[in-house]
Each structure stands twice: as structure tokens, then as C-alpha cells.
């Protein structure tokens, strides 16, 4: 399976470093129950992702430059994890352009956030062992995420998938002494679980299908090679279905599997209807929000859809679903973001919305656009979160923007990088968000396979306007105008130390330039530099994911981009008027639109809806039926306690005979037993 040119033993080092970091530090913490000095914690924790980054970068260069006759990828087969008759699962890592981009993002952004966390967690005294514990989790997360993106088969991917879920849970509830945080962690975990369940079902279906086709495998490359043989399979239906007169459905198996995978992705990547956990996940420390809930973990769903693109190419129905869910989520979350007051909540809904964009792109089969946006979004959203963290630190853990304003002069560096982040996300040319969002819109515009593609394009365009509006609202409310903070707090606000600002500057630079460097559209490249393949990322990725070739004229390209910029500009202007020039208009407008405003402020009452329709009946049924009747009466009463009582009764009463302590009794029992044994043997009774 592994050709000589593809074997690469260095890949295992990439997840190994963070694992070692987590293990060494974590085991110490577990047994010694005492923290290391902070400098050692920092050394161990931060060197791990940086070392991974260095290895990943060297292998990335290797991958980009080497010549491969049969596909551009490296494989590192560490050992056979599960070997059963027909089923073979290797613990092996795949490093192809897709995972290479992901690994670079994860280790790069991850390293920066590790460094930032040194400063952010430094003043945290809520838990005396919190500092080291935090970094243990962070390293563990990095390890899991790397397993996820490097996994060569569905099972390794799933290990990482569950691992990041666990770390997310641990880190959301990091300050677990406050009840609210623990509940938020739990919510994230439970909602994710729904998705994970579907994901598992998807794995089972797919494996079963390949097994039927005579290729029992869960290996990505092998699945890709044989997927064509499965296109005709339909969902097997038990024969009694037809006999009792039910219509026999002829669902394509691949579509069903694809939908199952996508439900998994919805859970992890916070799409409708499973997005509800992400805003609450903001209860965790801000670096966590940046790393896990903006840059990396939540994009795992997008990555997975792209990784499984070979399947979705044969499941157009599933693909259309993805596009629609993505488009609707993007719009839906953006509307909520307009009214939120907590700056991290705004960013959270913005993340949901941007993830929706990525799924929209994936659903339109422009996977490279999805990954492109994933990468740029990782940069600018991490930047925005970290800058917001800096603001929160400066404001002494105040997150309500009603109590901010006027921070521009107090925190000049933070202000500049935040502004860069805002400009990047709203798609101001030539920042990175402009290029990636443009490519998504282009993909939607040119798509003919998804029903209603043009409508989705329009919706995405409108959402771009919404994005622009709420991001600038956020910016103006934090940094401009007279302050609404108390004088005492405001007088203490100051710029953060270099360890916090440094990563911000690096991320800001990436947010500005990464887009143009990675994905300069071919049409401009031809025009400006007569370079027909200037969109390097897409050409790089095209060796892994199928990319539909856009044949588009320069005029069209410019027109579409201009339209997007125009929409963003209009929305930005509106925001500027409302929140900068004529702030006195806002209360009146709010009052006039109070019905809409209340609905948006309460996030469409989705949480309440879920609570009333799912959670409450579930709890009531669990309590009344499962707990009181099934558990207490049947399982505990008749089952466990009953049997235990019975057994104990027998044993207690038999104890006089069973353990007398007298050797002569023992010999006697032995004799009786021996005679019975011999009698059985001889007589065969």
C-alpha cells in the first residue's frame, strides 16, 4: 500500500510532542499534586507545539517541493492498531496537501495561542493548580487535533475527534467552581455527542458498504480508490417492509452515509440545528475560545467534509444539504450577532456564521475555497478573540460592551490589531478575508448542481453585509466614543505586556497578507502578473480534493468582488452612522424594531425551544419513568439489589458452613467433594 516515496517517519513526531508535553506535565500534576514552577510549565507546554510546528513546516516544504508520480502525500505507518480477520486499522498518519494546510494552521496558530496564554493565564488565581492544568489540557488538545487532521483512516480521525471534544469540555468548564461554566461545558459535550453518534453511524455504514463491495477498509486512500464501486448501493431494507405494504425506499447508501457524517460535522462545527453549544462555550478562558472555538476544533467538521469529498462527489443530495445548512446558518447566526452585548458572544455567533460560509463552499463542491476560508478565518478570528481577550484583561474581566467604549487611546496596539481583524473579516480588499470570501461567493455563483444555488449566493452576499455591520458595531462600541466604563476601572486600563501583544501582531500580519499569498485569484494573476495559476492554495489542494475549474473572465471576477465590497461598504457605513456619528439614533431605532430586536436578542428562543421540546420532556421521562420505575424499581430493586440481597443472604447463612476455620471440616468437605468427583468420573453420573 505504501510506496517507497510516500513513507515518512517524521510525521509521528508532530502529534508526539504535544502528547509528551501533556503526559509529562499531567502525570506529574496527577501524582505530585503540586505545580511546577511556572517557568518550567511554560517551557514544557510551549515548546511542544513549536517543535511540532517546526517538524510540520519542514515536512510541508518537503511535500510541496518533492516529485510524486502518483499523488502528493506522505504516509507514516506507526503500527497496526487493530488487526482482525478482514478488518485492519493502522495507526498511521497521512500528510497530503489538505492535512498539511490543517497541520500548519493548527500548529502555527496553536503555538501563538500557547504563548499568548502565558500572559493571559498569569493573573488567574481562581485555582492554585490552574496554570499547569490549563497547559496540560491545551497540549492534549493540540495532540488530539493533530491526530484528527493527520489520521489516515476514519478510526484515527475519530480518536482525535473525540479527543478534541473532551478537551473542549475540560476547557470550557475550566473554572469549574462556578456552576455556570461547568454547565456550559456539559452542554457542549452533550450536543457534540449527538453529532458524534451520527458520525459513528456514518463510519459503520461506510465500512459495511466497503465490506459488501469486497474492500473492507476505512483507510482514506483505499476508500477513495474504491468509492466508485459503491455508487449503486442502496440502503438495505428488511423484507417485512414490503410485505406489510410499506413503500420500499431506495435511498442511496452513500447519500445516507454522507448525511450521517454531516450531522457529525454539524455538532462539531456548530451548524444548524446543533450550534447552540458554541455561544455558551465562551465560558472558557479566552485563549481557549480563540484556539478551540474559533481557529481549530470547530473547523474539524469542515475538514472532515473536505476529507470525505470523494464520498460527497458521489452523493449530490448530501452535498446540497450541506450547502443549504451552511448558507442558512451563516445568515441566521449573523442576525443574532447584531444584537448581542457580550463581546465574546458576538464573536462566537460570528464564528458560527463564518463556519456556515465554509460549509456553503463545501456544499458547492469548492472544497479548496472552504479550506482557504478556514485558514484565513483561523488567523483573523484567532486575532479577534485574542484582541478581545486583551480588552477583557484590560477591563478586569469585563465582557459587556455596554460598559466599554473609548479604549482606542488606552490600548493602541490592541486597537490596531482589532481593527485589522475587523477589516479582514468583513472582506476589505486586499486583506485575507476578502480573497477567501470572494472565492466562496464565486463558487456559489457558478454552481449549477445545488438547487437554489443562486438564492444561496444572494443570501451569502447579504450575510456579508450583516457581518460587516455587526463587526463594525463591535469595533465602534469598544474602541470609540466616550467611555461607558466606571471611572475607576477606566483609569486602570492599560496596554498588555509583550507576551500578549506579540502573538497579536503576528496574527495581524497573517490576517493582512496570508489571503493574497495563499489564494490570489487566477483571474487577477493573469491580469496583473500574467500568472495563470496564482491561486497557489487551490492548485496545491487540487491534488487531494476535487476542485471544479472555474472558467471566469476578469470582468466577471471583478464585478462579483466589487459587488461584495459594495455590500460590505454600505453595511459598514450604516454601522458607522449608528454607532459612531449619530449614536443617539440607536435607542429610537431599537424601540421601533423592538419585536425583531427582542427575538434576535433572545437568539430566536432556540435554547428555550430546545429546553421545552427536548430537554424538559426528556428529563421528566427520565425522572418519572426511567429513574423511578425502571432504575429504582426494576434494575435496582429487582435486579441489582435483589440479586445482591439474595446472594448475600445465601452467603451470610451459608457462611457458617463455608468458612468455619476448622481444618477438619475443610478436609471433610474435600473428602466429600473428592468422592463425588471420583464417583462422577467412574460412574459418569
Amino acid at each position: 500500500m505504501v510506496n517507497d516515496g510516500h513513507a515518512n517517519d517524521y510525521l509521528r513526531l508532530i502529534p508526539l510532542f504535544p502528547l509528551l508535553g501533556a503526559l509529562i506535565s499531567g502525570i506529574w500534576l496527577m501524582f505530585a499534586r503540586k505545580e511546577w514552577p511556572r517557568s518550567i510549565v511554560i517551557l514544557v507546554a510551549c515548546s511542544a507545539p513549536i517543535a511540532s510546528f517546526v517538524v510540520a513546516f519542514s515536512q510541508f516544504l518537503e511535500l510541496a517541493t518533492a516529485k510524486f508520480p502518483d499523488g502528493r502525500f506522505f504516509i507514516d505507518n506507526v503500527y497496526t492498531w487493530i488487526g482482525s480477520h478482514s478488518f485492519q486499522a493502522e495507526m498511521s498518519f497521512l500528510f497530503d496537501p489538505l492535512s498539511a494546510v490543517m497541520v500548519m494552521v493548527v500548529t502555527g496558530v496553536g503555538s501563538l495561542i500557547h504563548i499568548y496564554s502565558i500572559g493571559y493565564m498569569d493573573d488567574d488565581h481562581r485555582d492554585d493548580k490552574g496554570f499547569q492544568r490549563f497547559f496540560v489540557y491545551l497540549n492534549l488538545f493540540t495532540f488530539s487535533m493533530l491526530m484528527l487532521v493527520l489520521g489516515d483512516n476514519l478510526l484515527v480521525l475519530f480518536v482525535g475527534w473525540e479527543g478534541v471534544g473532551l478537551c473542549s469540555y475540560l476547557l470550557i468548564g475550566f473554572w469549574y467552581l462556578e456552576d455556570h461554566n461547568a454547565m456550559c461545558g456539559q452542554k457542549a459535550f452533550v450536543v457534540n455527542r449527538i453529532g458524534d453518534f451520527a458520525f459513528l453511524i456514518g463510519i459503520f455504514i461506510l465500512f459495511w458498504a466497503f465490506y459488501q463491495a469486497g474492500h473492507p477498509t476505512i483507510d482514506f486512500l483505499e476508500m477513495k480508490a474504491h468509492i466508485g464501486e459503491l455508487t449503486e448501493l442502496t440502503v438495505p431494507v428488511p423484507p417485512w417492509f414490503a410485505t406489510i405494504g410499506l413503500a420500499v425506499p431506495t435511498w442511496k447508501l452513500l447519500t445516507v452515509a454522507g448525511l450521517c457524517f454531516f450531522v457529525g460535522a454539524c455538532g462539531k462545527s456548530a451548524q444548524l440545528p446543533l450550534y447552540v453549544w458554541l455561544p455558551d462555550a465562551m465560558a472558557g478562558p479566552t485563549p481557549v475560545s480563540a484556539l478551540i472555538h474559533a481557529a481549530t476544533m470547530v473547523t474539524a467538521g469542515v475538514y472532515m467534509v473536505c476529507r470525505m469529498s470523494f464520498l460527497y462527489d458521489h452523493a449530490p443530495g448530501a452535498l446540497s444539504t450541506i450547502a443549504w445548512v451552511g448558507g442558512l446558518t451563516a445568515f441566521f447566526a449573523a442576525t443574532i450577532a447584531i444584537t448581542q452585548k457580550d463581546i465574546k458572544k458576538v464573536l462566537a455567533y460570528s464564528t458560527v456564521s463564518q463556519l456556515g460560509y465554509m460549509f456553503l463552499a463545501a456544499g458547492m463542491a469548492s472544497y479548496s475555497a472552504a479550506i482557504f476560508h478556514l485558514a484565513t478565518h483561523a488567523f483573523f478570528k484567532a486575532l479577534l478573540f485574542l484582541a478581545a481577550g486583551s480588552v477583557i484583561l484590560g477591563m478586569h474581566h469585563e465582557q459587556d460592551m455596554d460598559k466599554m467604549g473609548g479604549l482606542r487611546r488606552k490600548m493602541p496596539m490592541t486597537h490596531i490589531v482589532f481593527l485589522i481583524g475587523v477589516l479582514a473579516i468583513i472582506g476589505a480588499p486586499p486583506l485575507s478575508g476578502f480573497f477567501s470570501k470572494d472565492e466562496i461567493l464565486l463558487g456559489a455563483f457558478l454552481n449549477h448542481d445545488v438547487p437554489g444555488a443562486k438564492f444561496l449566493w444572494g443570501l451569502a452576499l447579504f450575510t456579508a453585509g450583516l457581518t460587516s455591520f455587526y463587526m463594525l458595531r463591535l469595533y465602534f462600541r469598544i474602541f470609540t466614543g466616550p467611555t461607558r466604563a466606571s471611572a475607576d476601572v477606566f483609569s486602570h486600563v492599560k496596554e498588555q505586556p509583550a507576551v500578549v501583544v506579540g502573538p497579536l501582531v503576528v496574527l495581524a500580519l497573517l490576517s493582512v497578507f496570508a489571503g493574497g499569498v495563499m489564494g490570489f485569484p487566477d483571474a487577477y494573476g493573469q491580469w496583473l502578473m500574467s500568472m495563470p495559476d496564482s491561486n497557489s492554495l487551490r492548485h496545491f489542494l487540487s491534488e487531494t480534493v476535487s476542485t471544479s475549474e472555474h472558467h471566469i473572465s476578469l470582468g466577471q471576477e471583478l464585478g462579483l468582488a466589487g459587488l461584495a465590497v459594495f455590500v460590505a461598504l454600505v453595511a459598514a457605513g450604516l454601522a458607522a452612522v449608528l454607532y459612531f456619528y449619530r449614536t443617539e439614533l440607536v435607542p429610537g431605532l431599537t424601540k421601533k424594531l423592538r419585536h425583531v430586536h427582542t427575538v434576535l436578542l433572545n437568539k430566536y428562543y432556540v435554547d428555550e425551544f430546545y429546553h421545552a421540546v427536548i430537554i424538559k420532556p426528556l428529563i421528566r421521562m427520565s425522572d418519572a419513568l426511567l429513574f423511578r420505575v425502571v432504575d429504582q424499581r426494576i434494575i435496582d430493586g429487582a435486579g441489582v439489589n435483589g440479586i445482591a440481597k439474595l446472594v448475600r443472604g445465601i452467603a451470610d447463612n451459608g457462611i457458617k458452613f463455608a468458612q468455619t476455620g476448622l481444618a477438619q471440616t475443610y478436609v471433610f468437605v474435600m473428602l466429600i467433594g473428592g468422592v463425588a468427583f471420583l464417583a462422577y468420573l467412574v460412574g459418569g453420573i
Binding site: F31, Y666, G673, G674, L678
Partner: protein, 519 residues
């Protein structure tokens, strides 16, 4: 003078084959002398001689002997075929893959026992140097027992194993319990030995030979004499593994004996006795004897059930572990009933795993001993996770593994065993094995009740006493770590165990060994 009447050819001595045996024998002979010499000295190499120092020196020396033997054995593990030890025509012992695997397991158990004994013995005031010589002598007996293919060798090695163990059980000679334990074990053990010897006499009388293989060729399942002989022989061996109804000594003896000795008894004796059972069943008794396997079926089912039920009501951890060892003997007997090599290889893997988890559990209890007293009540473990987190962790791992919860090795071992039974039952269309496997699974479920009580007490109850000063010796830490690690590694990578420089597929080793043992 009359002419020579005795026909005799000197057997060839293959020293390479028996080198592990010779190493241990040499150690067993030299250790008493060394001990006697050292204890007469006031100072040695200009340092004062104390009891503790002597204990340390002796444990060091005996560990070296055992370690050399272990290295020699491990080197042979990859060769499943029997090496000739003395005389190819009339083998006294068969040094084949099975023997090597079992010997390695016995040696591991002995090494771990010796490493954790020094501090414990000093702590309970029984720091006498004879301990190590006795352990080594008993190990020699076990090694021979696991390999013996001749009834005389079988009996001699059984006694060589047992007599030092009787003495070890009573090693705390100032403790009434320990004396009681030794006395009971000795009396009941002698009785069992007597029965076994009787069986051997009958078999010899019936067949005219003492070699197990020769008996196998002449064995007549129709003859009452043959069956009685075989049955009595089996009683003697099932006594050693503490199977119901020959089990009642076990709780009293394990409870009274020094804790480290209990661990040694529970593991190494069982390993050796199973070795002997392998030989007797595969060589001397034809597999077709219906009633024999029926009788073993009943014993297995009874052992599992009685062991688990009685373990539930124990308040003393050592007693509980004794009943648990009875139950495990029941599980292990399933493998003997399965025809073919699958059951034997499952047993061998199980024995290795069982050694680690049981020694781990007993070691935790021995570490807790304080002020000349064992802290072996379940209540003594309350809040251990706070007082001694490492101990609590190892204990919990061992308990989970004993209960057979994945991913620990205990699960993998049980899985192999039940799998073998179920496979054989489907292949033969014989539902009795399936039923035995079902009984085994049900019993595992029952056993959860008492195994999990320990972690519950350790982790969920508040400590009732002050934290002891952590007096654990480095060796104890090492052994506990090795046990816990082995339980993890054997559970997760049974096919891929790395032992420093050496990568071994344990499952493949045992199945090769089992296959080579069967004709």
C-alpha cells in the same frame, strides 16, 4: 561376585536446556550459607551488619539468580519445540515453549515478590534471611512442576514447591494467624498430596509405567482403576489451584500468611499447577474421556460461582482476593476443557496477566502494613486516594483488571478464554462449553460488585485516619509501576509488547507454545 545385572546408560545432560533450573538450584543452595555466614559477622567489609542489611543483601542476591534464570528462559521463548533435557526416550521434563512461558511467569512472580518483601518483612518483624532461600527452593519446585512429564518428577517437584510454601506461610512466627495458616495449609496439603500419591500408585499399578506419555498410550477409559487413578491425581492438582471443592484452605491461608507470600502463592503456585495439569491432561489422559471433562466442567462452574459469591461478603481484602483467586481458577479451568490448543494458550496468557494484577493488589496491601500489623480490612482503604494516591491508583487498576473491564489486561485475558470456549462449542456443536462461557460471563458481572467496592471505598470515602508517612521503598514503587503498566500494555497491545529491547507478541508466543505441546 556375580555379574552385572543392571542395565544402565547415563543420561545425557543438556546443561543449556536446564540452565535456568540449575541457576535457581544453585541460588537455593547457596543462600542459606550466605545468610548463616553474614548473620554470624558483626561487620562485613567494615560496615556493621544489621538484620535489614542482611535482608537487603539476600534479596539482592536472590534477585540476581532469578533474573539470570529469567534471562535464560526468555532467550528460549521463541523456540516452541521441546529441547531435550536428559533422555529423549524417557523424558522426565519437557522444556518446551509452554514450560518456558510458565517458568518465565513463575520467575517474574518470584522476582516481584522478593523485591517487595524486604521492607514488608522488616515492618512486620519477620526479617529472617531464610525467606529468600525458601522462595528460591519453592521456585525450583514450580519450574520443575511446570515442565515435568513423569509422575515421579511431578510428585517430587510438587513437594519441593509446597514444603517451602508451608514454611513461608508461617513465616511470621510470632503471629498466631500466620502459624494457623501454615499449620492448616500443611495438614490439608499433606492430605491432598496423599490422595495424589495414591492416584499415582493406582495409575502405575494399572499401566506399569510412570512416564505420562507412556501412561497415555496405555490408558483405558473403561477401566475403573485407570479412572480412579487419574481422578485422584487430578484432585491433588486441583487442590493446588484452589478449585471448589478443594478450596476452603485458601482464604484462611492467604489471610494469615505474610501478604507478600499470599501474592506469591496465589500466582506462582497456580501457574506451576496449571503446567502440571496441562501435561497430565494432554499426555496421560486421552481427550475423549467424557466423564472427566464433565467433572472438570462442574468444578469450573462451581469454582467461579462459589468464589465470586463468597468474595462478596468478605471484609478483609486478603480473604476477598483469596476467593477471587478461587473464582479465577474456575475461569482458567474453562480453558482446560476446551479441546485443542486454543484453551491452553488462553490459559497461559491469562496466567501472565493474572500474575501482574494479583501481585499488584497484594503488594498494595503489603505496603499499607504498619506497626507490625497488616492493614488489610476493606475499611482500612477508605480515602486512600487522598492519603496515598499512587497506591490507590494501582489498586484501582488491578481491581478493574481483575473484574475484566476493558481496556485492562484482565478483559483481554477473559476475552481470549471465553472466545476459545465459544469457538470450540460452535465447531463441535457442543453447547456445554457455550454454557460454561455464559456462566463465566455472568460470574464476571457478579464479581464487579466486590471488585468495584475497593475503588469506591478508596475514592469516594473520606479517610478515617491521618496520612501515613510514605515509607514505600523504591523497589515497591517499581513493582507497582510495572504491574500497573503491564496491565495496561497487555490489555491494549497484547500483540505488541515492548520489553526494553525486545518486541514480543505474547498471544503468538502462547499459541505457538500450546500448539507444540499437543501431539
Amino acid at each position: 561376585m556375580e555379574t552385572s545385572v543392571l542395565e544402565f546408560t547415563a543420561p545425557e545432560l543438556h546443561f543449556g536446556t536446564i540452565s535456568p533450573l540449575l541457576t535457581v538450584a544453585l541460588g537455593a543452595v547457596l543462600l542459606p550459607i550466605i545468610e548463616a555466614y553474614l548473620s554470624r559477622r558483626k561487620s562485613f567489609l567494615s560496615r556493621p551488619v544489621t538484620r535489614v542489611w542482611i535482608g537487603f543483601m539476600l534479596s539482592f542476591i536472590s534477585t540476581i539468580f532469578l533474573a539470570i534464570a529469567l534471562m535464560l528462559t526468555l532467550g528460549k521463548l521463541s523456540v516452541p519445540q521441546a529441547e531435550v533435557a536428559f533422555n529423549a526416550a524417557h523424558p522426565m521434563i519437557a522444556m518446551d515453549g509452554t514450560a518456558h512461558f510458565l517458568i518465565a511467569t513463575i520467575l517474574l512472580s518470584a522476582i516481584m515478590t522478593i523485591l517487595v518483601s524486604g521492607r514488608y518483612l522488616a515492618d512486620v518483624g519477620a526479617n529472617y534471611g531464610e525467606y529468600y532461600a525458601l522462595v528460591l527452593a519453592s521456585v525450583l519446585g514450580m519450574m520443575l512442576l511446570a515442565a515435568s512429564t513423569n509422575m515421579i518428577m511431578l510428585f517430587v517437584s510438587l513437594e519441593l514447591m509446597s514444603i517451602p510454601i508451608y514454611a513461608l506461610a508461617g513465616f511470621r512466627r510470632l503471629s498466631v494467624r500466620s502459624n494457623e495458616s501454615a499449620m492448616k495449609y500443611f495438614i490439608i496439603g499433606s492430605f491432598a498430596s496423599g490422595l495424589m500419591l495414591y492416584g499415582m500408585a493406582l495409575l502405575y499399578g494399572a499401566t506399569g509405567s510412570v512416564g505420562l506419555a507412556e501412561i497415555g498410550t496405555k490408558f483405558d477409559p473403561e477401566s475403573v482403576l485407570h479412572l480412579l487413578g487419574a481422578g485422584l491425581l487430578l484432585i491433588g492438582l486441583t487442590f493446588k489451584i484452589a478449585a471448589v471443592p478443594f478450596h476452603q484452605w485458601a482464604p484462611d491461608v492467604y489471610e494469615g500468611a505474610p501478604t507478600t507470600v499470599s501474592g506469591f502463592m496465589a500466582t506462582a503456585v497456580k501457574v506451576a499447577a496449571f503446567g502440571a495439569l496441562f501435561r497430565v491432561l494432554s499426555l496421560a489422559l486421552q481427550p475423549g474421556i467424557e466423564s472427566l471433562y464433565g467433572a472438570l466442567w462442574v468444578i469450573a462452574a462451581l469454582s467461579m460461582t462459589v468464589g465470586n459469591v463468597m468474595a462478596m461478603i468478605q471484609r478483609n481484602v486478603k480473604r476477598m482476593l483469596a476467593y477471587s483467586s478461587i473464582a479465577h481458577a474456575g475461569y482458567l479451568l474453562i480453558g482446560l476443557i476446551v479441546p485443542g490448543s486454543g484453551g491452553y494458550s488462553a490459559i497461559m496468557f491469562y496466567l501472565l496477566v493474572y500474575t501482574f494484577m494479583t501481585i499488584g493488589a497484594f503488594t498494595v496491601i503489603s505496603v499499607l502494613a504498619k506497626d507490625h500489623e497488616d492493614k488489610d480490612q476493606i475499611d482500612d482503604l477508605a480515602g486512600l486516594s487522598v492519603l496515598r494516591p499512587f497506591l490507590a491508583f494501582v489498586m484501582a487498576v488491578c481491581m478493574f483488571s481483575l473484574a475484566g473491564i476493558p481496556p485492562f489486561a484482565g478483559f483481554m485475558a477473559k476475552f481470549q478464554l471465553f472466545k476459545a470456549a465459544i469457538q470450540a462449542s460452535t465447531e463441535l456443536g457442543d453447547s456445554s462449553l457455550l454454557w460454561l462461557a455464559i456462566i463465566g460471563v455472568l460470574n464476571s458481572a457478579v464479581s464487579l460488585y466486590y471488585y468495584l467496592r475497593i475503588p469506591v471505598v478508596m475514592y469516594m470515602r473520606d479517610p478515617e485516619r491521618e496520612a501515613d508517612p510514605d515509607s514505600m521503598a523504591g523497589f515497591e514503587r517499581l513493582v507497582l509501576f510495572v504491574c500497573a503498566a503491564a496491565v495496561f500494555v497487555l490489555g491494549i497491545f497484547p500483540h505488541d509488547v515492548f520489553v526494553i529491547f525486545w518486541d514480543v507478541d505474547v498471544i503468538a508466543v502462547v499459541s505457538e507454545a500450546a500448539r507444540s505441546m499437543l501431539p
